[in-house]
Symmetry: C2
Subunit: 442 residues, 2 copies
């Protein structure tokens, strides 16, 4: 029986539990799933398929999983940098959001973000923002797999002018998208322990639990947050969140920079998950998350880029490189967070942290066919002694040439197939023009 897609003539980095690497491997897809992964036999025998992709000696690996994004904020990429967090938020981001975030701009910015992610090798993202219905429609059109959360915050927010409506708004969003799309899973994202009251956090978590969806929250990101939470509750942010019942296996804690051993112990015992965002934490000078300790405690840790207003790209290859290097220099240990660990974080670790590990994160028979092909026939990737090292320390998003999500080819030979890229670039530039001219440049 014919396959739908066969990819051959590449090195398959499975990221299975043994981290098996198959030189000259063949990957066979039927429908949405991987049905065969094996070494090519001699004499060459390429299985019959509707579509045969010659990887030309490239690397074939699971599509990357970006565990933390704010997709519509792509609109504010580079609007303001090198500023204190408070000034950045109050003077630039909040006013820009109030003025310029609406269903139309969210649609365009989200599509552009999806284009950027697919072109740089990400096949799944985990998002939180407002107007998430619009985000979900845009992501669905792009062909990307995603967990998409409606944001909850106790302030007037884009699309939710009355904070008293924030939980209802999130709940109805979740119900609308539950089981309505094979690739989109809804979720609820409380902004943080300092912008949501205890009651809000409890109600939002209850809404997530009753719908059995992921609950996300920025937690323990900055020293200022820690100090404020301690002043208010005499507890660390993590201990406070645990006391009010927020931590369980369906909770994704984003950042976890300011966590101590006791916090890590609680996170591990509650089986909660962590999203690590090295680029954002560095650029905003939040601090350095204790990733080695989190991993040692058995906590699933995924990699994230954060939104493009803070980082400023969605390229997970950059995040991998940053992650490996940051923890080495921080601990003065060159063996810390090695390449294999980082590749796991960007694939199966990310999948685990957002609860999708049964379907994605590794190339194994029965899983969804979410994979990318990285072209290594380039000067910065030559010679190649160790493909895993190259993925972390030498490759960049622009080296990804083919992407398949749920059995659908969304990029081929570097060309995006699911969206009209030029139209998106033009539309976004036009919106940005109005943002510049309406004066957010204080």
């Amino acid at each position: 029986m014919k396959y739908d897609i066969v990819i051959h003539n590449g090195t398959v980095i499975t990221v299975n539990s043994e981290f098996d690497i198959i030189e000259n491997g063949i990957v066979c897809i039927r429908g949405r799933r991987l049905v065969k992964i094996e070494a090519r036999t001699e004499p060459p025998d390429i299985p019959k398929a509707e579509k045969v992709i010659d990887a030309k000696g490239a690397l074939i690996l699971p599509g990357l999983v970006n565990t933390h994004t704010h997709l519509p904020m792509t609109l504010f990429r580079g609007l303001a940098d090198d500023l204190p967090l408070h000034e950045w938020l109050e003077k630039y981001i909040f006013p820009a959001e109030a003025k310029h975030i609406n269903p139309k701009t969210v649609k365009t910015a989200t599509r552009l973000a999806c284009a950027e992610m697919i072109l740089s090798g990400t096949t799944t993202c985990c998002d939180g923002y407002f107007f998430e219905n619009e985000v979900a429609r845009a992501v669905r059109d792009s062909g990307l797999r995603a967990i998409l959360a409606q944001g909850v915050i106790d302030f007037p927010a884009p699309g939710v002018r009355n904070p008293a409506e924030n939980i209802n708004h999130a709940s109805s969003y979740v119900k609308k998208w539950l089981a309505s799309s094979a690739l989109i899973t809804p979720s609820i994202f409380c902004h943080s322990p300092y912008t949501c009251a205890t009651e809000t956090l409890k109600k939002a978590k209850a809404a997530a639990v009753s719908n059995n969806v992921l609950f996300q929250i920025h937690a323990a990101e900055t020293k200022q947050e820690w100090d404020r939470m301690y002043a208010e509750h005499r507890q660390s942010p993590i201990h406070y969140l645990d006391r009010i019942g927020i931590l369980d296996q369906n909770t994704l804690l984003v950042h976890c920079v300011w966590v101590d051993d006791a916090d890590i112990d609680i996170i591990a015992r509650r089986k909660a998950k962590v999203s690590h965002n090295p680029g954002s934490n560095m650029k905003l000078a939040a601090g350095i998350a204790p990733v080695q300790k989190l991993l040692k405690a058995g906590i699933p840790v995924g990699l994230g880029t954060d939104g493009s207003a803070s980082n400023n790209t969605l390229d997970l290859f950059g995040a991998m490189d940053m992650c490996a290097k940051l923890h080495k220099v921080h601990t003065l240990d060159p063996t810390a967070v090695d390449a294999k660990t980082v590749v796991r974080m960007a694939t199966i670790g990310g999948a685990r942290s957002i609860g999708l590990e049964k379907d994605i994160g590794s190339l194994e028979v029965g899983k969804q066919a979410d994979l990318i092909v990285v072209d290594t026939h380039q000067p910065h990737l030559t010679p190649m002694y160790n493909p895993t090292s190259h993925l972390v320390y030498a490759a960049s998003g622009s080296d990804v040439k083919t992407a398949i999500i749920g059995g659908r080819v969304v990029m081929e030979d570097g060309k995006l197939l699911s969206l009209n890229l030029n139209e998106l670039l033009e539309k976004t530039a036009a919106i940005a023009e109005s943002i510049s001219s309406r004066g957010n440049q204080h």
Copy 2:
């Protein structure tokens, strides 16, 4: 009178002392030099030229200056990572150098390194290695501008089996290349204060002084080096080098991670220069150089990638991003080392640190025509509110489409014109094959 090359329809980032940015600028080249840089007038009037390049709305900026490389070590890219420095050197790099570094492999690896640099926007590099005659020939063929130093070390080295010959070898190399090529300037590179005896350092510096060329040395890179120097000399590496007369305005100190205020004061008073290599320092877990203090002391600080055996690419865009983010998180100050500072370090700062600031590092009339064109019509660079921010926080080497060095177009529309890239990729892969099979994989 006709120009040789005119580039129009782009935003010119001059990196002159005012950091002037000219929207819709025109850059005119005659021979090797920039002869006119101005805003385009209305109605459009493009000056006549042998070659007119339409930048299509892109960014036009000075070619980047990589102040620290070991070009032939591109051969060992990714051969061994995530290891303690000692094990990496003793078990992998030294044996690989002893077995595989020869004039033929140096030629191929250097050409590949030049291809990688040009394709990612570097137009000048500052190198130190062995068989530097071969390096110089290969770099000359590539069209790159470079300061190229013969290495000096008190151990048997590639091409210099007898360490007693190391100074003579370096001196005759320098004499050979003085004034022999418009783009190549010779130099002498003592490996470090702990691998060269005091007498060697003095003699090498004297040879550099007598030929009026740059003297380079790895200094204060690791805590182990500091401890060793202090145990031996009761002085920091910098104080020791000063005491024996090594520091002056023609000395480039590479790394300067383990320097205190007194060391910085000495470097500033002697008018010595510094090469900062954030990616290498992070990956090898050397530590974090006090870049803000060095800059505040008025010391010229350039950016470097280090060799590809340790970093593992020569992409200075990656080094810019790493530099800006590393110092922010290290100081917990998001305003530290801002985008403009980093762009200066990668251009005019680098030029100053290697003594070429009169000729390169900024786009100003009378300087050499060394420039690059960065295509911003891409999802990860859209929207664009601030071109300088994009260069540091969003662009990568693969966004560079055109490169001109000394008035010669060496890359156009992403295609390398000065070397045969496919031949280099094949030759390098063949050499790497023999390195893998001859067993450096301990």
